[in-house]
């Protein structure tokens, strides 16, 4: 693409959407701003339709530009002072009546590092509540926990994304980057791409080999392929001996999952399992990458553990040119899970229950370590008790739309409705904001400066490109204003991003995710800094595991994992499997992308994708509206036929609102370790759309 000279005068920033954080340049214009792709290693100068159209939201009529306060059941414009005043007095009142934990916070994986950090500090210091978690719990938590178990550290991709180009084989599990992060596809090999996905996605269509397991059976598949690796003589014994521990115990479990046995559970041919083992073993360089499809399960941690075991048996992690990585989803899915908006966490990927961590962070914050609350509830558990006897009575939501994105969304909306007081800070009037008592209009990516940590663990600076509309404030500003009104010294909650980042650096110093050597200046100078960056002179750590893993003995851990299958098996009453996912032209809950006409023209509404035989058996034709019913709710959407679909599975995209929310169906069964809900598989049945809309509240 030709880039004209005047475009170069715009601000270098990054796309507002996914974790690939494509480099873009934003230039003010008569209509607001224009965006252009720019050369950056992750996107190589490319950008998908979401990126190209991202500027539309800056000036969209859907944009909020004034605070709204609910009066007599109706959201009415208010000035900032009044809005912040209402919030402060209501929070103080609720805290006085019910205690500090009666106020909860819900953050997001799209927020900048500065916001995530300040949100965690705001909860623990200004509100004194333990009740904070964020939507990243619904994204990265299973991979994060499995990474920590195996490697002692969770950096989604412990290598730059451009390393993938040297691979002869890549096994991509539960990921559809051709739709979810299209420019990423340029890093995948022409041959040697193996895709595991219950759907024949556009990514799977590009693969040399596509394995199509029944949803929820990925762990069994990982065991089968690992079995084939060992049985067919592909085990990298010297690597296993020198760089890992725990193989023997793991093998005892894997030994019971020979490929033919796995075939019966997954539906994936034993021959294909062996072929994958052989392809990966024969490659000089190979990668195994996982994403939400295999992670968003009540057994997500074990499932990712199973894939990591496979990567270890092949000797991939910690070798230049090979490895295991997880593809982070949300824009700041990586940084968002490092700096304290998570229920059990303090900045620098520290644990809230670690006395040394509390001491260090409390020191940076200038508070007594004992004043820091203990760990709180995980995202779904927090949403599940809103307004209940022992749950929060008030909730502040930043950068998230749980009415659409949380599992069992009908119930979550009901819980939000049971709150005494709900505050939502957002760019548009999302479905969650529409329920709020106070809505705060906040700035967008191009209107503010801040850092993001992309899927490679590289810290990026998004530079402010244009002025926000009048009446809009940044999230940092909001936190500053609230904290001050709640009696905190103003300097403790700076609204200036670089000041917050300077504090974050100190708080993260010595932690696993150590940012202390990162400065805005170094980022402006174009340095490629992957954490940990423990000193200002430190070049960063693009490939942290080359010499040793992050466990004290330097070795990676094989973790024996057992397969149990989906939390909600199909039965006579609910005989089909429903799985959910994303479309190219929409993003997450759709709050942003549904406001963009060009994207809505491509993907205007939800649909139920199924095999023609499945449709025929239900007497359905393409385009006909159908109700998909689970034990938790139902969705009404038109039928779409795809002969590559599994006959036992229907698929729904999860970007849409109202009666088209796929998450009305999903199962909130949680992973025992990560507390990840089982988004990717639940039991449903199809019913004719006799009635209008859903019979679930909200």
């Amino acid at each position: 693409m030709t880039v004209t000279a005047d475009v170069r005068t715009g601000a270098a920033t990054h796309c507002p959407y996914c974790a690939l954080q494509c480099g873009m340049r934003v230039t003010p214009s008569d209509v607001g701003a224009t965006v252009e792709a720019r050369q950056f290693p992750t996107n190589g100068g490319g950008m998908c339709q979401k990126g190209w159209t991202s500027a539309e939201l800056l000036t969209s009529p859907a944009r909020l530009t004034t605070p709204l306060v609910r009066v007599d059941g109706e959201l009415r414009p208010a000035n900032w002072d009044d809005a912040l005043g209402v919030i402060t007095s209501r929070l103080l009142g609720i805290r006085e009546r019910h205690g500090a934990d009666a106020v909860g916070l819900f953050g997001g994986g799209g927020l900048t590092n500065e916001k995530c950090y300040l949100l965690g500090k705001f909860a623990r210091v200004a509100l004194g509540t333990s009740q904070i978690d964020y939507n990243g719990r619904f994204c990265m938590s299973s991979a994060a926990a499995a990474n920590i178990k195996a490697f002692g550290m969770d950096r989604g991709m412990p290598f730059p994304v451009t390393d993938l180009a040297a691979a002869d084989a890549i096994l991509l599990v539960g990921s559809n980057p051709a739709e979810t992060m299209p420019p990423f596809v340029q890093h995948l090999p022409q041959d040697g791409l193996i895709v595991v996905d219950p759907r024949r996605t556009p990514t799977a269509e590009q693969a040399a080999l596509h394995l199509q397991p029944a949803p929820g059976t990925d762990l069994a598949l990982a065991l089968g392929i690992l079995h084939a690796v060992v049985a067919d003589g592909h085990l990298d014994e010297s690597y296993v001996d020198t760089r890992t521990v725990g193989f023997d115990e793991t093998w005892r479990v894997v030994a019971r999952w020979w490929p033919e046995h796995v075939e019966r559970v997954t539906g994936v041919a034993a021959a294909d399992q062996r072929r994958v083992a052989a392809m990966l073993a024969a490659a000089r360089n190979a990668y195994l990458l996982t994403a939400r499809g295999t992670e968003q399960h009540a057994s997500g941690v074990n499932t990712v553990g199973g894939w990591i075991n496979l990567a270890l048996a092949l000797g991939l992690p910690g070798r230049h040119g090979s490895g295991y990585g997880c593809l982070t989803g949300q824009g700041n899915g990586q940084g968002g899970r490092e700096h304290g908006q998570k229920a059990d966490q303090l900045p620098g990927y520290r644990k809230l229950d670690d006395p040394a961590a509390r001491e260090h962070v409390a020191g940076v914050w200038g508070v007594d370590p004992d004043s820091l609350p203990a760990s709180g509830r995980s995202a779904y558990e927090l949403l599940d008790v809103l307004g209940a006897e022992d749950g929060p009575k008030a909730l502040l939501v930043f950068g998230s739309n749980p009415v659409v994105s949380a599992p069992r969304a009908g119930h979550v909306a009901e819980r939000l409705g049971a709150l005494d007081f709900l505050v939502v800070a957002d760019v548009v009037l999302s479905e969650t904001a529409a329920m709020a008592d106070v809505v705060l209009p906040v700035t967008q990516w191009a209107e503010e400066t801040g850092t993001m940590t992309n899927l490679e663990g590289r810290i990026l600076l998004r530079n402010k490109a244009i002025d926000p509309p009048d009446g809009v404030r940044s999230d940092l500003d909001v936190l500053h204003g609230l904290a001050t009104r709640l009696g905190q010294p103003p300097e403790r909650f700076p609204a200036e991003p670089e000041a917050v980042f300077t504090e974050l650096r100190a708080a993260s110093r010595g932690g696993v995710a150590d940012y202390s050597g990162v400065t805005y200046q170094r980022l402006r100078d174009g340095e490629a800094l992957h954490w940990p960056v423990p000193e200002e002179g430190h070049p960063g750590t693009p490939r942290p595991f080359l010499d040793r893993f992050h466990h004290p003995d330097g070795r990676a851990r094989f973790v024996p994992v057992r397969y149990h299958g989906p939390a909600e098996p199909v039965d006579a009453e609910y005989p089909l499997i429903a799985t959910t996912g994303r479309l190219l032209a929409q993003y997450q809950s759709g709050a942003q992308t549904r406001a963009i006409d060009e994207l809505m023209a491509v993907a205007p509404e939800a649909f139920v994708e199924m095999h023609p035989d499945t449709a025929e058996r239900h007497g359905l034709a393409a385009g006909e509206t159908i109700r998909v019913v689970s034990r938790r709710g139902e969705v009404a959407a038109p039928v779409r036929l795809t002969s590559s679909a599994r006959q036992d599975t229907v698929f729904l995209p999860f970007h849409f609102a109202g009666a088209q929310r796929a998450n009305l169906l999903t199962n909130p069964a949680l992973d025992p370790v990560s507390r990840m809900p089982e988004f990717k598989v639940c039991a449903v049945r199809l019913e004719p759309a006799e009635r209008n809309g859903a019979d679930v509240d909200m």
Binding site: C48, Q49, P183, R252, E263, L584, T642
Partner: protein, 487 residues
């Protein structure tokens, strides 16, 4: 020894430390990790740790080490609070006293006794296979235990003739493993086609041909009448088969001696009900030694399912748990051969009640037969159709209707709805999406060209095609070239 210890956990004693006994001990501990409900004692006749019999053909083929087939590591019993005694034969059961007596004369009391003694190789009455004292003659090895595998490996030399007695699953797996190691293998099978329990004659024939490609020879419909050590076998048609080694895989017999002596109901195996109970209410049997109408013998899947049910019952984790039988899919684990068979495969094309879909490609070692009734899979043989095997088995297991496109069903992969974008830019339909990242169709590229974007770069700027992953660049270039040629 106390027989009615009311205090403390119930004493479960498992006789046999093979795949069934080992699994039951694990299943009990999974349901009762702290040993509050049951104590677990395992008495194993062999001196070594339990091993995974499924992997033995891998040992013969040389892809599995002895160590890697063990089910447990040394510390397993201690870590799981299991009283494991290996090398301990049980000589008698005293049902009245509720004790078992061990080879050394000591006794172990039980509240629940589980017999998981498995089965042993059956040696056909061919003259000379056994010595006068009942041992296998020199040069004769059964194919049943881990020790058998080691004997086979020690005695089979590359280039030397080996006879395998038995053309069933295990015999063929042993034959394939030995052929892969360079032995000249001949399979002697008394029936006219291989694996007659699972295959129809057509499939048996194609299988024999496929195995012949791997260097294995066959003597079908023939019995071995006499064995001469160092020489070979004499067959019932008078022919002679040289063999330095004879591997016997002619079937198994349940190890029912202990149960018979104790007066339990025994037929082919120890008769059990859906609770896995024998004719004594306190004695259970699982695995190969048990005889349940829904459980085919000689396979691990029924043993594992029985173990799960029995663990539910013995720990009280689920007292409604019952074993109703196992639907078994036979898989031949032989390198280069992909065979699965399931259900009733005997109906022929033209059957009134059943729909039979059949495809024979003998030259390439492929044979497929699917028997359907009301769209449900009743039986299938799939040789050389690995993808179909996976999907057919899935439909068989779940009782789900088979795809209406029977050809796609046999191929195991759905045929795509639309062909890939035509390579020829001139004939490509306008509605084809060329750039998926930016939803750009061929028609919109043509429009952009006509509006003045007369280069690939110009088309990219006008439509954003190629500006995502870049995968469509060559197609867009092709369209640009074609448009230039039409101007």
């Amino acid at each position: 020894m106390s027989t009615c210890d009311q205090a403390g956990p119930r004493r479960v004693v498992i006789v046999g430390y093979g795949m069934a006994g080992a699994r039951l001990a694990e299943d009990l501990r999974a349901r009762d990790p702290r040993g509050e409900r049951v104590s677990v004692t395992v008495l194993g006749g062999e001196p070594h740790l339990a091993y995974n019999r499924i992997l033995l053909s891998g040992v013969v083929a040389g892809t599995m080490s002895r160590r890697s087939v063990h089910l447990h590591e040394e510390s397993w019993a201690e870590r799981n609070d299991v009283d494991l005694r290996t090398g301990t034969a049980v000589t008698t059961i005293d049902r009245a006293a509720r004790t078992v007596t061990l080879g050394d004369g000591s006794q172990v009391g039980y509240d629940a006794l589980v017999l998981a003694t498995g089965s042993r190789a059956w040696i056909p009455p061919t003259e000379g296979l056994l010595t006068d004292d009942g041992e296998l003659a020199p040069g004769v090895v059964a194919f049943r235990t881990l020790d058998d595998c080691e004997r086979i490996l020690a005695q089979a030399r590359a280039g030397a003739p080996v006879a395998v007695l038995g053309g069933g699953v295990l015999g063929l797996e042993a034959a394939r493993g030995l052929a892969g190691r360079g032995s000249n293998v001949t399979v002697v099978h008394p029936v006219g086609h291989l694996m007659e329990r699972q295959l129809d004659p057509g499939a048996g024939g194609v299988l024999a041909k496929a195995l012949t490609e791997h260097g294995i020879e066959f003597a079908l419909g023939k019995l071995a009448t006499r064995y001469l050590p160092g020489d070979g076998l004499k067959l019932d048609d008078g022919s002679h088969l040289p063999a330095d080694l004879v591997v016997v895989s002619a079937g198994v017999r349940a190890e029912t001696g202990l149960a018979e002596a104790a007066g339990l109901d025994v037929d082919q195996g120890i008769v059990v009900d859906d609770s896995l109970r024998t004719s004594d209410q306190r004695i259970y049997a699982i695995g190969d030694v048990a005889q349940h109408p829904g459980a085919p013998s000689g396979l691990v899947q029924p043993a594992w399912e029985q173990s799960g049910v029995l663990a539910d019952l013995l720990t009280g984790a689920d007292t409604s748990s019952r074993y109703r039988g196992t639907s078994v899919i036979t898989r031949l684990k032989a390198r280069g051969i992909d065979l699965s068979a399931v259900g009733d495969v005997h109906p022929e094309i033209g059957s009134d009640e059943d729909e039979v879909v059949c495809l024979t490609d003998a030259r390439r070692g492929r044979y497929a037969k699917v028997v359907l009734r009301d769209d449900r899979v009743r039986g299938a043989i799939l040789l050389g159709f690995p993808d179909a095997a996976a999907t057919v088995a899935h439909h068989y297991d779940n009782g789900t209707p088979a795809p209406s496109d029977r050809l796609a069903f046999l191929l195991g992969r759905a045929l795509p709805d639309e062909a890939a974008p035509a390579e020829n830019p001139a004939t490509m339909p306008g509605a084809v999406t060329v750039c998926k990242c930016n939803n750009v169709t061929k028609a919109s590229l043509v429009d952009a060209w006509r509006s003045g974007a007369r280069s690939t770069a110009g088309l990219a700027e006008a439509t954003r095609a190629t500006t995502g992953c870049g995968g469509c660049r060559s197609v867009v270039e092709g369209i640009a070239t074609w448009l230039a040629s039409t101007d």
